[in-house]
């Protein structure tokens, strides 16, 4: 019995580890690559702690422009989708019961239709409209932001509607009736009763809509026109090879998300705690009271630690310079490379010697001596064709080096910076 329990426990933990590993692993790897110095996002081998990719990101006007466009489109989509979603949800509760299923299918359909199709159809549809209205190609109907907001809203509004429907199901229509009975007009009943009730759902729907808009690619790719969003820019960048500045962007987004979620959670818990203790809601929904919050709230402490961590990281980033480390790594790499070359050469010589010995054994001892004396030159010449040369960074001068083998260590440094990096400090 007990052994079974332990086994179950172990299985549960294993499952949790695997589950969260699967869930969070990629994000963690990506975040780490943002701080590693190689110019291709790599977690191993760890080379140098660096913040340069954040600099690169901050100076990348295309990414910044993409973020700006994404934000504008996100806000537009939120406004449009929330309004349309709310209207659709309200209609669902009001519509003739017989039509309800059909109506539901129709409004939910955009979620099921591929985003690509929505994108194309948005483009085509508004182009037709614009032609019909006799507008020029520079008109608003061809504006990328306009089209993207419309295109994304077609399906994001459906998501919003689902959120609203869930909330509306808990709405007591008696409240609206009570308001009407007390003399309110339908408009007043909507603004004073239904809308305040829907407020939390409007908040969630807005967040959902914004995130869906921000991360959308396949609809946007047809509609963005002259206003590429962040996702479009990233996709275009990936096509030409990426560097860790994208990881650093990912890290920022992840950090913001965690931070936001934490703040929300802390706020919510605080409210619940206060409500459970019988405090009036009006007192709970007031502003944050920091000192009291710290008293019994681990989440708040974590939050503050996180903020402190953030600040110290920024300070560290400004004072710490990864250049020394990078030089070390470069030196190490060079040494490793030379080690490899030398090993290859030695192996080659060994093979040659073995061959010669075999050869002399077969055709007589007179030929042995000359071939042995020729061997350095032959090695130098032969190295040009060696597999080691396929390594991109091993250029001509290096191939010559084996001939100058005695002074290799001293002379090698002279050539190394030219081969590897333009920014080598030794040349200065």
């Amino acid at each position: 019995m007990r052994a079974e329990n332990v086994f179950l426990k172990i299985m549960l933990w294993a499952y949790l580890v695997i589950f969260f590993g699967y869930l969070l692993g990629p994000l963690i790897v990506m975040s780490i690559t943002a701080f590693n110095s190689p110019s291709f996002p790599k977690m191993t081998p760890w080379e140098c702690l660096t913040f340069e990719w954040f600099d690169v990101l901050a100076n990348d006007t295309r990414i910044l422009n993409g973020i700006e466009n994404s934000l504008i489109i996100g806000v537009g989509t939120v406004i449009l989708s929330v309004i349309m979603g709310l209207a659709a949800a309200l209609l669902l509760t009001q519509i003739w019961p017989k039509l309800r299923a059909t109506y539901y299918t129709v409004v939910i359909a955009p979620i099921l239709i591929p985003g690509v199709v929505l994108g194309i159809s948005t483009l085509v549809f508004w182009d037709r409209i614009s032609v019909m209205l006799g507008m020029s190609t520079g008109s608003i109907l061809h504006n990328g932001i306009f089209l993207t907001i419309l295109g994304q809203s077609t399906f994001i509004a459906s998501y919003c509607m689902l959120v609203f429907v869930a909330r509306l199901q808990r709405f007591d229509t008696g409240l609206t009736e009570a308001a009407l009975d007390l003399g309110a007009t339908h408009v007043q009943a909507f603004w004073k009763i239904l809308l305040p009730f829907m407020k939390p759902a409007i908040g969630s729907a807005a967040v959902l809509a914004f995130l869906a808009s921000f991360e959308n690619y396949n609809t946007t790719t047809f509609t963005f026109g002259k206003f590429p969003t962040l996702t479009i820019e990233l996709a275009q960048k990936v096509r030409y090879g990426i560097n860790p500045s994208i990881s650093s962007l990912a890290f920022i987004i992840i950090a913001l998300t965690i931070f936001g979620a934490l703040i929300h959670e802390v706020y919510r818990r605080r409210q619940q705690l206060a409500l459970a203790n019988g405090a009036p809601v009006s007192a709970v929904s007031g502003g944050l009271q920091l000192p009291r919050m710290l008293r019994g709230n681990p989440a708040a402490i974590i939050l503050i630690l996180l903020a402190l961590g953030g600040f110290s990281t920024i300070w560290f980033a400004q004072t710490y310079s990864p250049d020394v480390c990078k030089m070390d790594v470069r030196e190490q790499k060079r040494l490793i490379q030379e080690e490899r070359i030398r090993a290859i050469r030695e192996q080659r010589q060994l093979e040659l010697q073995q061959k010669q010995q075999q050869g002399s054994g077969a055709s007589g001892g007179s030929t042995t001596a000359p071939s042995a004396t020729q061997s350095p030159g032959q090695g130098a010449f032969g190295n040009v064709f060696k597999p080691g040369n396929l390594d991109r960074s091993t250029t001509e001068p290096k191939a010559d080096k084996p001939a100058q083998s005695p002074g290799k260590g001293a002379f090698g440094d002279v050539f190394a910076p030219n081969n590897l990096d333009k920014a080598a400090p030794k040349e200065e």
Binding site: D172, G174, L175, E177, L182, G183, S282
Partner: protein
């Protein structure tokens, strides 16, 4: 405050598709009256209320308030205020905002609304609770807030849809008195919906008893109890022992009923059945439990019958004695507890007598299901 106005239902029918929820309702409710609709759930009483408040248009017939036809006038334009079964207090508004909602939608300023709210809060004895949320109040307090909210709209007619059903017994009894008091103070017409006959009888000037969309009887509580118009009313309002049989003879207001099991019994003919009952008709005779007594004289008579005691219940102020009756039903007799030991032993035969005037006979018909 405005005096109450008349509410008239003239030949009102309400249908939902093929289902007839209300059939040919003709009701005249006088201004300032406390009027109840009493009936089991699903009998159409709430439907009638909704047609008065304007959430529902009758399929046929007219609803008049103060002599004015209300057809096409929405609930927000009618001089009625409805207190909902679940009260429907606005959960996100404070108590005082709830109470003065009717003023808010009229555009009355905040200071004035607050003042009015305080007056009403005083009236319902919740003076310092105005800044709470409804969820922070107890059931009875919510109840009173709902009443205050409805009264704040200064309606001519107040409609109450089983507002006490969610309260516990003590509170319910207390609220009955309180509601009646409020009604007498403000003097407006109250229309009250309930399935609890106790509520209807204690508070109302007049009661309409409904069964499956039909109004069986409209009369004062007294009349409904003592002189029911149909077997349904007799069996639904209060408790009643029913004896089935046929009319053997009629003598003025009295009839001799030959019952299926308990022999021939004498009874008064209900007012509504006079002239309609003939000798030989199948009939139902009703004797209230409290009308029965243990007979001193056990000689056979038309107002005595005997039955076997099955068991007895002690209910505090009364003993309920259950005797074996016909059709598997028990005859219930209630004896006031005046300190005597119980008068019967289980399994023994007991002779009961009753005042023939207190029994009532009606043409056989549908009974209320228990």
């Amino acid at each position: 405050m405005t005096k109450g106005v008349d509410v008239d239902l003239e030949d009102v029918w309400i249908r939902f598709g093929d289902f007839v929820a209300v059939r040919e309702a003709n009701v005249n409710i006088k201004g300032g009256e406390f009027f109840s609709f009493l009936g089991p759930s699903g009998c159409g009483k709430t439907t009638i209320l909704r047609s008065v408040s304007g959430f529902l248009e009758p399929s046929q017939g007219r609803v008049k308030i103060g002599g004015k036809d209300m057809a096409g006038i929405g609930p927000n334009k009618r001089p009625t205020a409805l207190i909902f079964q679940n009260l429907a207090l606005f959960p996100l508004m404070k108590v005082w905002e709830n109470i003065t909602f009717s003023l808010e939608v009229k555009g009355v300023g905040k200071a004035e609304r607050r003042k009015r709210a305080d007056e009403l809060l005083d009236m319902i004895a919740l003076s310092d609770q105005g800044d709470k949320l409804p969820s922070e109040l107890s059931g009875g307090q919510k109840q009173r807030v709902a009443i205050a909210r409805a009264l704040c709209a200064e309606p001519d007619v107040l409609l109450l849809d089983e507002p006490l059903s969610a309260l516990d017994l003590k509170l319910r009894q207390h609220m009955r008195t309180e509601l009646r008091e409020i009604q007498q103070r403000v003097g407006i017409t109250f229309i009250y919906i309930t399935h609890d006959q106790g509520e209807a009888l204690t508070m109302s000037d007049n009661v309409a008893v409904m069964r499956a969309g039909v109004i069986d009887q409209i009369a004062s509580g007294h009349t409904v109890y003592n002189d029911p118009a149909t077997p349904f009313v007799a069996s639904f309002v209060g408790e009643n022992n029913v004896f089935r049989g046929t009319i053997k003879s009629i003598d003025g207001d009295m009839a001799l009923v030959s019952t299926n099991r308990t022999g021939e019994l004498l009874s008064r003919i209900a007012t509504s059945a006079r002239g309609k009952l003939n000798v030989g008709d199948s009939a139902m005779m009703f004797i209230r439990p409290e009308a029965c007594n243990i007979a001193e004289d056990v000689s056979p008579a038309a107002n005595r019958f005997s039955a076997m005691v099955k068991h007895e219940e002690f209910e505090g102020q009364i003993y309920n004695v259950f005797l074996e009756g016909s059709e598997g039903k028990e005859i219930k007799m209630s004896l006031v507890n005046i300190g005597k030991q119980r008068a019967s032993a289980e399994g023994s035969n007991l002779t009961l007598e009753y005042e023939a005037k207190q029994a009532v006979v009606l043409p056989a018909g549908e009974l209320a299901s228990e």
